[in-house]
Amino acid sequence: MQDFLNFLVLGLTRGSMYALIALGYTLVYGVLQLINFAHSEVFMSGAFGSYLVVNLVAGDTFLPWYGVIGVLLLGMVSGGIVGAIVAYGLERVAYRPLRRRGAPKLAFLISAIGMSFFLSQLAGKMFNRQKNNFFPEYFDANKRIIEVNGVHVTLLQVIIIGSALAMMLFLDQLVSQTKLGRSIRGVAEDAPTAALMGIDIDRTIARTFIIGGALGGAAGFLFGTAFGFFNTMGFIPGVKAFAAAVLGGIGNIRGAMLGGLLLGVVEALVPSAPWGTSQSWIGLQWTDVVAFVVLVLVLVFRPSGILGERLGRAA
């Protein structure tokens, strides 16, 4: 049982990261009905940007607890800012001109793919192409906060799950309570009508990108702290988060959260069953297959995701 719980914690950690990235996909999908394929690069930029800041401030020193909190906030804020800037630039360069021209839907997908290639390779050229960049060790990530009967939760896991949950709650409130949230929902529901009601559609879309980008950038920082960062780091989590968004019902904020957590937990739990000392039944090399099979099964029975589509309705 404690083995199972350990894997569950791992799954929740992974899942909350997926959920944070998935929110970016789902927000953009809500207002534009488009997959923002370059969102993975927003995530990557957030990781690099926050690294540059954090490395400057924290250096290679071990920090006291308040220092750790400060650096974490700093990292998330700087990652979020960089992510927001990149996402805004992305909207201006790769999306708005196409909207103006009334391009077919797939053209947006391809321009985003072009942008994604461009950004990840530019980052590789500017920083490096090694796959092992790590944040400075400014706190003991392995420190065990909770340890009951062999079930343990480390400090890093607490930080990741906690900040992800906080950001998700914040976003949920933002979209359901504020004026900005109302305009986002309005555009998602019916863009022409929203425009008639006096909502500046271009501006709302840009702000949606900025919010999604900030979340993605902060996720980039968290991810980087846990697993390291590199120029093509966005691709795999991006695909997974996209799958998570679809799983929960794309365009649906709570769906993205649910989908992300679910996917993370499935990935951590299913392939390693029976979580004991013996050889696993399925094997970790089938992790992605398991994830996609679950996705297909869910979609076969609920063709528009677990919680259904539409940003407007469900949030």
């Binding site: 009334g102 797939l106 072009g114 994604s116 799958a243």
Partner: protein
């Protein structure tokens, strides 16, 4: 909505332009990031004087935008577009293309060649002068002078200036061509470089533009109308001119035969092969027959097109075809003799050929094509009568049809006879990159372009085709029963059937899904196939090591045997046959009942269902047909490379194929092919231009720019074009502004 003030708009624009310059500064250059110092590459790129050049480019662009309204009237004058095209061609030729293949000159571009050639005393004065022995950078100065002269002629509208610009352009173009040719014959090695030729073409275009400036008194250019008039005046005649020029180049300057240290023109062949046992045909061919054939073909094709004479047209077809065959026979004959006699460096039949023979074949093909146009052309009176009935839009259709026919034959000539002229590197790229991905793009076009189903796991079918082949030829650890082991080409039908089944298997559970849901499921399917191949359940796929030793294809028809080997070129013709068959089938399909059903479900599935289309069946067919094309590509790939492993079938490749199709123009068969060809050619071309590591970045930028400025793709499908621009304005597809939110 708030109105933004003029100042803030201008500031934003300037900021955008400067940002563009800044990003260019990051992109261009050899700097490379380092893990030990994250700011290293950035400092190299930005904290250096070069940043001012890039910011300058940004400012320049900004100024151009500001002054654009004042420039536009001039831009619409006749001759501006060809001038720009010509000047850009020359810039590209001088800066990007290779001017020599010789290993003596590193990179082989104009800059390196100039330095080397200007210092070589034994070259003649004219050659060295072109390469800058007097004034360094002569080619660039010449280009600037010619372009400025032509521009001045346009702005001032002076005939004399224009004529002198034209004359100068021709002279400079020929000078450059001559200089390169003399270096080439000095180096005495076969050469496949295209720089000098492209530069000549560029200068000729500039000359044409200057002539247009001098001759035309129109205020606005009517390029399209001009082209239409040109091509419909005597349908097929431009092809004759092209064929004539190509033939002249082949007979006068091109190398026909080059064992080591020799470059024989066609008129040198007679003396080289005198008394060496070549057949009487070859002797006759190189001494007089080739000229006679060429003159006859040009005369007959010219007469047929000029007089619009059907019978003469048929004669031209026969004559052209016979000439091609004779040329090929002669090429084979003398290379075989040379190989048998062991001329220095001559190795095998068909080896050591220069471009000359192939160029002449291309010329004959184009002349025969001109004959075909003449032979099948409707009489002009009929066309005019039809115009009167059908109105203006049909007239447009006929004239551009004339242009398309010419293009078709140029493409045929190129597809048949360009590859043997190319270097082994490009031959290999043509076969294993361009050709394969064109085939895949054709297949995916059915799914994405016609039926509108976004498939991000298309490469899985390619994998299935490849692994099926590997299994059937016995290259996997699990062998088929003895009686089933097949030669690779015989695996094609099996691969098609298995891919059809796989397509249906994927399609069936996902039929209810739409749009992006389908995308992620197909993506997952592609990954599942790859991971399964990698994880090697039951030892079937040999895991990441893949299948090795898949035999190369062979044909044995009793009277005709052919075994493909390691060389790339023979595969090209196999691939060409496959592509042609599939394209022919698919063009029939596009306008069939099924093709129209696909268009219907793409546009509106509910409405399509309401009109009685069985959407389930139609969608499954799209998946299955696309998949089977991919399977054929897989068979070809497996047996050509001989080694397959799961790493060939990555998710990235699936995404790239989608990008090719959309880049080319969704739903348009020529578009999908062009998109795949351009985007697979580009990285190989970029290899000489930017550090190899950065190629993907540039490709990303190109895809992005393409989608921003031409979202419908390179060659948009007619149906799509109509959707985007409205039927009444076929020419202005790009400029239509759609309010935000409606384009989706």
């Amino acid at each position: 909505m708030k109105r933004e003030s003029e100042l803030s708009v201008q500031l934003k624009r300037l900021g955008g332009c400067l940002a563009l310059g800044f990003v260019l500064a990051l992109m261009v250059g050899k700097h490379e990031g380092s893990q030990r110092d994250y700011g290293f590459a950035f400092r190299q790129a930005v904290f250096a004087p070069r940043i001012f050049v890039f910011l300058g480019i940004g400012v320049l662009i900004y100024l151009l935008i500001i002054f654009w309204p004042r420039v536009t009237p001039y831009l619409q004058r006749p001759g501006v577009r060809p001038l720009a095209a010509g000047a850009l061609t020359v810039v590209a030729a001088d800066a990007l293309l290779r001017w020599t293949d010789s290993g003596q000159i590193e990179g082989g571009k104009l800059g390196a060649m100039s330095k080397a050639a200007a210092d070589t005393g034994s070259l003649d004065f004219l050659t060295r002068a072109f390469f800058g022995s007097i004034v360094p950078g002569t080619p660039w100065i010449l280009l600037a002078v010619v372009a400025l002269l032509a521009a001045a002629a346009i702005v001032l509208d002076r005939g004399t200036l224009a004529w002198s610009a034209a004359a100068l352009a021709v002279l400079v173009g020929l000078w450059g061509f001559y200089a390169q040719a003399s270096v080439r014959s000095f180096l005495g090695a076969p050469d496949h470089s295209t720089g000098a030729l492209a530069s000549l073409l560029g200068y000729l275009t500039i000359a044409c533009s200057a002539v247009v400036v001098a001759r035309s008194d129109a205020e606005h250019a009517d390029t399209r109308g001009f082209v239409d008039r040109l091509f419909s005046w005597r349908p097929g005649l431009p092809l004759v001119v092209l064929g004539f020029v190509t033939g002249l180049i082949s007979l006068l300057v091109a190398t026909w035969f080059s064992p080591s240290n020799a470059v024989d023109k066609v008129y040198d062949l007679g003396s080289r092969f005198a008394g060496s046992g070549v057949s009487a045909l070859t002797t006759a061919y190189v001494s007089w027959l080739v000229y006679a054939l060429f003159v006859a073909c040009v005369a007959v094709a010219g007469a047929a097109t000029y007089l619009r004479h059907k019978a003469l047209g048929w004669v031209a077809i026969v004559l052209g075809t016979v000439s091609v065959i004779l040329t090929l026979v002669v090429l084979h004959d003398f290379t075989a003799v040379a190989a048998a006699a062991g001329f220095d460096g001559a190795s095998k039949p068909w080896k050591n050929l220069g471009v000359g023979g192939w160029l002449l074949c291309a010329s004959f093909t184009m002349l025969a094509g001109a004959g075909w146009i003449a032979a099948t052309h409707k009489r002009a009176d009929d066309v005019v009568a039809a115009d009167l009935v059908a109105g203006d839009s049909d007239h447009l259709a006929t004239t551009s049809a004339n242009f398309n026919k010419v293009l078709l034959f140029v493409v045929i000539a190129g597809a048949l006879f360009y590859p043997p002229m190319a270097t082994p590197f490009w031959q290999s790229v043509l076969v294993s990159q361009i050709g394969i991905y064109v085939l895949l793009a054709i297949g995916l076009n059915v799914v994405v372009g016609w039926a509108g189903l976004l498939d991000l796991g298309f490469i899985a079918f390619y994998a299935i085709g490849s692994y099926t082949t590997a299994y059937l030829v016995g290259a996997l650890p699990v062998k088929p029963p003895e009686w089933l082991i097949l030669p690779p080409l015989a695996a094609i039908p099996f691969a098609i059937v298995i891919c059809l089944l796989a397509g249906v298997t994927l399609g069936a559970p996902t039929l209810r899904l739409r749009g992006d849901y389908l995308a992620i499921v197909t993506l997952g399917f592609g990954e599942i196939i790859r991971i399964a191949a990698n994880n090697n359940p039951h030892g079937f796929t040999n895991g990441p090591r893949g299948a090795i030793n898949i035999p190369h294809p062979s044909i044995d028809l009793g009277f005709f045997k052919f075994q493909w080997g390691l060389e790339a070129l023979p595969y090209w013709y196999l691939l060409l046959v496959l592509i042609c068959v599939i394209v022919l089938l698919f063009t029939r399909l596009e306008n069939s009942r099924l093709g129209r059903s696909w268009a219907a479900i793409r546009e509106d599935e509910v409405a399509a269902q309401a009109t009685g289309i069985n959407t389930t069946r139609v969608k499954l067919l799209a998946f299955a047909i696309g998949a089977s094309t991919s399977g054929v590509a897989g068979v070809f790939f497996a047996s050509q490379v001989g080694v397959i492993s799961p790493d060939n079938f990555l998710l990235n490749n699936s995404i790239l194929v989608v990008a090719y199709v959309v880049f080319g123009g969704m739903g348009s068969l020529p578009g999908a092919m062009a998109g795949a060809a351009v985007l697979t050619w580009l990285p190989e071309f970029l290899k000489d231009q930017v550090p190899a590591e950065d190629r993907q970045m540039w490709i990303g930028a190109v895809i992005l720019l393409m989608m921003i400025f031409r979202p419908a793709g390179l060659i948009p499908a007619k149906r799509r074009k109509a959707e985007l621009s409205g039927l009444e304005k076929p020419a202005s597809a790009e400029t239509t502004a759609v309010p935000a939110g409606e384009g989706m």
